[in-house]
Amino acid sequence: MQTAVEMRDITMSFGANEVLKGINLELEPGKVTAILGANGAGKSTLIKVLSGVYNGYGGTVIIDGAAVDIDHPTTARAHGIEAVHQKIADGIVPGLSVAENFLFEAIVNNEVSRAASLRSLMPRAREVASVLDLDWPDDLLRSDIYGLPIADQQMLLLARALVHEPRLLILDEPTSALSETEAARLFGVIRRLRNDGVAILYISHRLGEIEDIADRLLVLRDGIFVSDQGSPFDWAQALHAMLGAAEDDPHERTGELHGTETVLSLKGVQLLPKSAPFDLDFRAGEVTGVFGLLGSGGTELAHGIFGEERFRAGEMELKGERFDPKAPADAIARDVYMVPEDRVAGTIIKDWSIAMISTFPFLKDVSRLSVMNPMAEAKVGRSVIEEFGVVAQGAADPVISLSGGNQQKVVVGRWLRKQPTVMVLNEPFQGVDVGARHDLAEKTRDVAVAGSTVIVMSTDLEEIMQVSDRVIVLADGNLRHDAYLSETSREEILERLSEVE
């Protein structure tokens, strides 16, 4: 069979750092090829080379038997390579209507006048939408893109890529912002494209997705492919190749933890406008996983506990005393900490080093009479790097130079090292590779063993089952299930989630 795109000996370096060390890959039409790799393995670089974002790579890209030089995104597009990048926000232009976003490339290339009335754009926008059978009403097309749910924004970007009828479609973590139902919808589209003969390169951290959708699985490690298998996949082999060691269950070391002392009590708490109030106790010495789909109230719960936003109704008690934080600072003062769901927007400060990010919430620890002590600060930075296995050269490294998983280790580690009373982790594993996820899960369980009350929110059941002892299921803001893992099952959890009241 003819290949859609072939890569031969592709290399790419940033300064002295060789990120791709000789990639050989033939992508066949009508097949979904998945790439798995730890953070820093070179996945994003590979995608950016193929889609023309980075030029100056070494080696050859061959299309239709001829070598081509992909030096710009437009060249990639001309050769039929389309990429949908991980961050949906990067592709969406806020302030423009949905229709204008559909036609964004045409507007940029002056094929459509920027001054054209919205009405005159509608037929062409509908044309683009029809590629994916997005039968959106005119009202929606006219409305501001900002109001569009994130899953639909993802569909819009996909439609925009598909309108060029690519030979190769690259999807980088396409489900990272989607709920399970939304992801299922995306998979339907991917299967259809595969049947139409499009070659698909699929990057994901989620093993279940790759199992579902991929025909071939490649494992990238340190800039080179270390495993190549056809479906059905041998996961133990793939994970071993990816991490250099078999992944073990974080529960193995500790067993299922059952806390006895109630630390945080919610009384009559109402999460969403129409949801029912409920009581809920969180106990020290165990990890409570809060599972629910996007918009089911998990984020509201995390925000309420951390004082970011008040609950609609109800109150809290911490260690038997009234707890009513009006700002995160109030919660932190009582050793109630939270890692927010959006790492970049909620924790990262540009130009700051690992040491600075690590010490930021507790500057008192590294200052004397309010004067900063750089030595003490570097020491904290180094201890976070060591304790949490952050891959970095030193505590002075800028935190944005780290891969997503390592950034997350820093922002989780800075709280965990203080042995919190209550630790809330909201989607701590998003955009984090399997290896880092495992490390983080172990550290999280360690602080629970040491006596912290740990609460983990996630929309991914695998993650919840990996890290938790006890599972809470939320749906539409209502409490649906509360049980230890050993007393319940995946099936029961999903059943409770889908119950209609």
Partner: protein, 351 residues
């Protein structure tokens, strides 16, 4: 296809060296430019070499520099205080009113002005933090408000001794000797305004770059959400920044009032843009690419050197703005064009 074969090896080394040179230029270029001009003027203009010229230059610069230092603090928390010029102007009128119309002592005028500056800062903070009005817009409104309000009690006139008041009587007081000493006096050879400027520069530098409060303020300017989620009381810090800016502008106004020796109603009018300019110039010093006290002080001194030098070389007065504009251009090129900070952001995140 050279591209496909030469991504490694030689060309990389060449590229690396040129980038290092660029780093060097970005980091020390600005200081080098300041020194170069200084040496050039000192070599070509005999009068420039005298220490009295040096001090009068610094004295002349101090007003802008002090207002710029306050403004820098609001820039650090991600804002910009457009009311500094008006606040300084208000300080001139308030000093004159206190001493000339109410016949009070110099220290009363001093306290009244500092208090008024802090109140203006607090008012800005109220608009920005509590009413959630964007910084630029809130302080713009404040600027107009105080420019107008300061004229109400003086019926729009400049206040000087012998002013005829509304009821026909003559204003009883005058600028006190002590108050005038703020500008005229000196500590050894160093004029008081220069002493005040240098002390405030060191204090501000220390506060911003060596204390935990400064650390939090930079965090707020860079990512207020991350600062809040790490437990910073963002509103309070921003309020403090604006109050400090108000007080600094009031101090600048005190020096100005002492220099003019009367309640000139147009005083402080050009101060805002000059203060913004020196603060912006300051962001490029040492390649830090963020507002900082050392940079602001050095930016003010460079502009002072250039204005003094060009004036002594008999350039007409209207060249002064051209000089300021050029300095700002060069500084912005250091910050935006030559700095690698943004590119580093992309290249260092291969994943």
């Amino acid at each position: 296809m050279s591209k496909t074969t030469t991504a490694k090896g030689e060309p990389m080394l060449v590229a690396k060296r040129s980038l290092d040179l660029r780093d060097l230029v970005v980091k020390y270029g600005f200081i080098a430019v300041t020194v170069l001009f200084f040496v050039y003027f000192a070599a070509t203009i005999p009068a420039f070499r005298q220490s009295s010229t040096m001090f009068s230059m610094l004295k002349f610069t101090s007003v802008v520099a002090i207002a710029g230092l306050g403004l820098t603090m609001t820039m650090v928390v991600g804002g910009l205080d457009l009311s500094v010029g008006a606040t300084a102007g208000m300080a001139v009128t308030v000093s004159a009113m206190t001493m000339v119309i109410y016949a009070q002592q110099g220290w009363v005028a001093f306290l009244a002005v500092i208090l008024a500056g802090a109140l203006i800062g607090a008012f800005n903070a109220l608009l920005i933090v509590s009413f959630k009005i964007p910084d630029l817009l809130a302080t713009l409104a404040t600027m107009f408000l105080i420019q107008g309000l300061k004229l109400v009690p003086v019926d729009g006139q400049s206040v000087s001794s012998g002013l005829i008041l509304r009821d026909g009587s003559v204003a009883p007081g005058k600028f006190t000797h002590g108050f005038l000493q703020i500008n005229r006096g000196s500590l050894g050879p160093v004029p008081y305004p220069v002493v005040i400027f240098l002390v405030l520069a060191v204090v501000t530098w220390f506060f911003l770059s060596r204390t935990k409060w400064g650390r939090v303020m930079y965090a707020i300017g860079s990512n207020p959400e991350a600062a809040r989620l790490a437990g910073a009381r963002v509103g309070r810090y921003r309020a403090v920044a604006y109050m400090m800016s108000g007080v600094y502008a009031a101090v600048a106004g005190l020096i100005l009032a002492s220099r003019i020796g009367q309640g000139d109603i147009s005083a402080g009018n050009s101060l805002l843009l000059d203060a913004v300019a020196v603060s912006l110039v300051g962001t490029s010093v040492l390649g830090v690419n963020k507002p900082n006290a050392f940079g602001t002080a050095l930016g003010a001194i460079l502009i002072g050197v250039l204005l003094t030098g060009t004036t002594m070389m008999n350039f007409p007065y209207y060249w002064q703005d051209v000089v300021k504009g050029l300095v700002l251009f060069v500084a912005l090129i250091f910050s935006f064009t030559l700095s690698r900070k943004k590119q580093r952001f992309v290249a260092a995140v291969p994943l």
